[in-house]
Structure formats: structure tokens, C-alpha cells
Amino acid sequence: MDWRQLWEICSAPDNVPIVGLIPLLCFYIYLAWKQAHANDQLIAQLEGDAALAKTHHRKTWPFKPGWQKEVHVWPFLLRIEFLAAIIVTIILMVWSITLNAPLEEPANPNLTMNPAKAPWYFLGLQEMLVYFDPWIAGVVMPTMIIVGLMVIPYIDTNPLGSGYYTWKQRKFSIGTFLFGFIILWVAMIIIGTFIRGPGWQWFWPGQTWDHNRLIYEVNRDLPDIFGITSNMAKALFGAIVVGGYYLLGGFLVYSLFRRYMAKDFKRMSLLQFSITQFLLLTMVALPLKMGLRLLWHIKYVWITPWFNV
């Protein structure tokens, strides 16, 4: 166990935000879960008691008929904003006094940094480079993430859970978002920051970064396993595998939706459903490809003269 190495990684100034992000995320997930749980209990109670549902004010916080429903922004909101501004300023001041912004040697194109890491918020994308070619990891996937985020309001047809925390009313959408944000985005950033060392190799926390370490891994392509040799056949084979993934996966999504989310499926138009299917499958393709690589050393699934997937 190399504690110095661990300390060096965790205390690198630009890694401090990620060290801070982890407890922050835990706290806010706990805060959200607590409220979602309380709301779900209230919903269950009201679902079972129609008379109460008519008279209840529908929030978990206390409310009595005589109370005012609205409060003045001045002072009740502005004082919170003012306090928040002061607290943020203090945190920032203390942070800036105690920790210096990093400054390395002058830029030198002849001396490559090893590991050369992108800023921490892009490390998830850099980590994806291990499993995908740059045109997917660096261009297509980021574009899909942005487009995917933007279409969320138009494909989520569930009218429940607007304006309050809940889990039971929105299991699918919240589950998907948590998977995408926590597992695929934040966890990949954490891997990229704390695990990846020289040569972008995997070093467990506390393992010494060995700049001379070499790993002999024989990566294969999926067509090789099936003994396909000609270029034409490889391209066709890959197209069938990728196409088959989307077709079979699409069918699986359909049958799961039909069975377990009948109401949402009924509300969705064909366009809404196909976009959901496509984005979902593309998102799941990332951990699947990671699994292919890590478990069976498979590099490419689809090989063509122009691009590889």
C-alpha cells in the first residue's frame, strides 16, 4: 500500500473538486431520497383514502387552513439568497487561501505528460476512449448525451412527479438518470481521476504508479473469434451484430415497456418510443462494450475500411 501515491493523487489541486464532489453527491442523494420516501408514503396513504385525498393539502410539510399560502420574497427568500452568497464566498476564500491553483512547467510540445489527462469533468469521456474509437467516445457520444438530455422532456410522458420528489411514481426515469449520471458519468470520472495512471493503465488506489509497467494484452476483434477473415465478411458480420443488437434490444425494450410500464407506453407516440428505445440502447451499449473488453478482450465488434465500432 503506497500511501504517498494515494495522497499525491487525492491532494492534486485539480482533483480536490472530485474528492469534494463525492460526499456532496451522497448528501444530496440522501436529501432527495428522504423526501421522495416521505412523499411516496403520503401518496400511498392518499391512494387508499379517497376522502382524505380530497381535503389533504398534499404535502409532507405541515399546513393549517388559517396559514398564508404565500410569503413575501423580501425578506423570506432574499435572506436565504444573501446567506448563500456569503457562505459560498467564505468557502471560496478559505479554499483559495489554503490551496493554490496548479501551475506546471511551461508548455512543452516535446515533453509529453504521462498520464496526459483532460480536465476532470471530461475524464469520463477520456475513460471511454479505452473502449471506443475517438470518433465515438469524443464526438458521437458527447453529442448523444447532449441531444439525449434535451429530448428528455419530450419523451417522458409520465405526468406524475412534477414538482416533488418521488421514486415510486417515476422509477424508470429516475433509475435511468441515476444510472447515466452516477454510474456512467461520475463513476467514470472517478476511475479516470483516481485509478488511471501512466499509460492510462489501471492502478488500484494505493498502488504505486510504475512508469515502466507494460501490460501484454492480446485484444481480439469479434469477427476473429468466429474465424471471419475477409474484409467484406467482417464488415457484413459487424453490421449484422450491431444491427441485431438494436433490433433484439429494441424488441426487449418493447416487451419490458409493454409489460411493466403499460400506462407510459400507452401515452407514448411511435416517435417518442423509438427515440427512447434508441437512446436507452446506446447508453447500455457503453457498459456492454466495456464488459466485452474487460471479460473477453474484444476490441472491435464491427470492422470496416472506414470506421470501427
Binding site: 444530496y28 410539510w61 404565500e70 511551461p106 515533453l111 417522458d156 412527479g161 429516475i174 438518470f177 449520471f181
Partner: protein
Amino acid sequence: MADENNGKNGKVGLVDRVKDDIQAMKVDIPAKAKEQIEGLKDPTKTQVYTSIFRHKHDDTPRNRALGVLSNVFLHLHPAKINRDAVRYSYTWGMGGITFFLFIILTYTGVLLMFYYHPSKVQAFRDVLYLEHDVPFGKILRNMHRWAAHLMVIGVWLHMFRVFLTGSYKKPREFNWNIGVLLLVFTLLLSFTGYLLPDDQLGFWAVTVGTNMARATPLLGHEGPFGSMLGMTPYNDVRFGLLGGSIVDANALLRSYIWHCIGIPIVASILMIVHFWRVRKDGGISGPAPVMLEAEADKQRRGPKAAGE
């Protein structure tokens, strides 16, 4: 008084006039001074004060509302909001904190610009100079850097909260989209700033980042179908980003201009739209009364009912 004397004698000497004025002054000035002091006891009645503040400050509901509505910076807020909408456990306050950090970044950023030249010869030296010679230069740079990181985290947490409370749902779909664009611009702002110290860290981070651009399908020289469309290292999308085929002087200048002028302007415009739409879409989304399964397919609540 002087007029009366004039009337009696018809002719008055200069000395008499002066004497008379002095007499009058002895009475006038203390009287006016007293008046002035009396006036200062209630400064809110002075012309200067009333020209600035258009309403009284007594603690009445009307004045509380006017305090927000008659102030250009505060009038983004409504006069009144739902009693639960101020609960921190619901809002997390991350949107406001992100905006506050943007203001800090603009402020520290402008100060940093006074000491920085975006040229290969001087950029790195300027940062050294800033760290060691400029009064408070070090804390200025530190604050700018850490506020930028905090802003990225703030945007993520804000988005997370908005998602978990389903606040992107009707009628706020469009504003969610503006928010996604703001997320992208926040990341780009941070990324373009990374190169500016012109050190190894920034240089290689930007090299790694922009190397991906050459793999852009169709538009990058190493991307699928790029070379077929005539893309080379000297005309593809990466060349456009860097102003060259390597990260060098032009890339530094480009990233400086995007960082200090281009993206802040675009982001500010989007922020204006974002804040304005928050109000127009019915204020903050909740905490709204919970909805039951049976009510789901009935008529949706309008922005008014769901919001304020």
C-alpha cells in the same frame, strides 16, 4: 428689512447695507442650519433619497412587495412565492449559487485580464508575475480557478435536482433545453480557460481534448469518411478550433477570446432567457402538491397552479 430701510431714508450707504446683511445673516443661517439638521434626522425625506428609492421603507406588505418590484436586480423575483418554495431541502439553491459563482468569475476574470497577455511569449510569465508580484494576485487566480470548478459542480447538482423533482415536465420543457445548453457552455468556459496559463497541464489537456476533434465523422481528417471528403490536418474542424494544426499561439489566442468574450456573451444571453422563462413558466416548479395515479390522465395543471 433692507427694503424697509430703503423706504424710510431713501438713500443708504454701502456700510449700512453690509451691516444690514450681517444682521440678517445672523438670523438666517442658524435658522437654515437648524432646518438642515432637522432634515438630516430623517434622511429618507431628502430629495436625493426619494429620487433613488421610490417607496417608503416601513414594514408593510405593500413596501415589502415594492422593495422587490421597484429594484431592477431583484425584480426577477415575484413579490410573493409559495411558503414551501423557500425550503432549502427542496430547492438546494444550486441554480442561484451557480449564477453567483458566474458573477464572481466575471469579477475576478476581469481583474485577471489586466495582468495577462494571450501570447506565447508572455502568457506563462504573466501567470508567474501574477502569482509572485501582483498584490493579491495569487488569491485572485486561485479564486477564479476554484470558482470555475465549483460552478461546474453547481450546474450538475442543479440539473440533478431539477431532474429528480420532474421539473422539466410540462410546461418547462423548453427551459430545460436552455439549461442543457448552459451546461455545455459552462463546461466549454472552463475548458477554454484551461489552456490560458500556457503550462504543461493546460497544454496537454487541450491537446487530448482537441485531438478528439480530428476524429469527428465527416469533418475531421481521421474521422470516418473525413479523408474522403478532402479533410487534412490543415482544413478540418480541429484546425478551425485551434487556428492551426497544433496547439500553439493561435490556439492560445482563440481560447482566450472564446473564454473572455465569445462564450460569456452567449452564456449571458442564455441565462437571461433561462431566468425569464423560470418566471414565465410559472415560477419555481414546487414543492407542488403530490398527484395521484388516478389524476394522471385528467387535465394537466396549468403553469399557475403548478408553480407559485
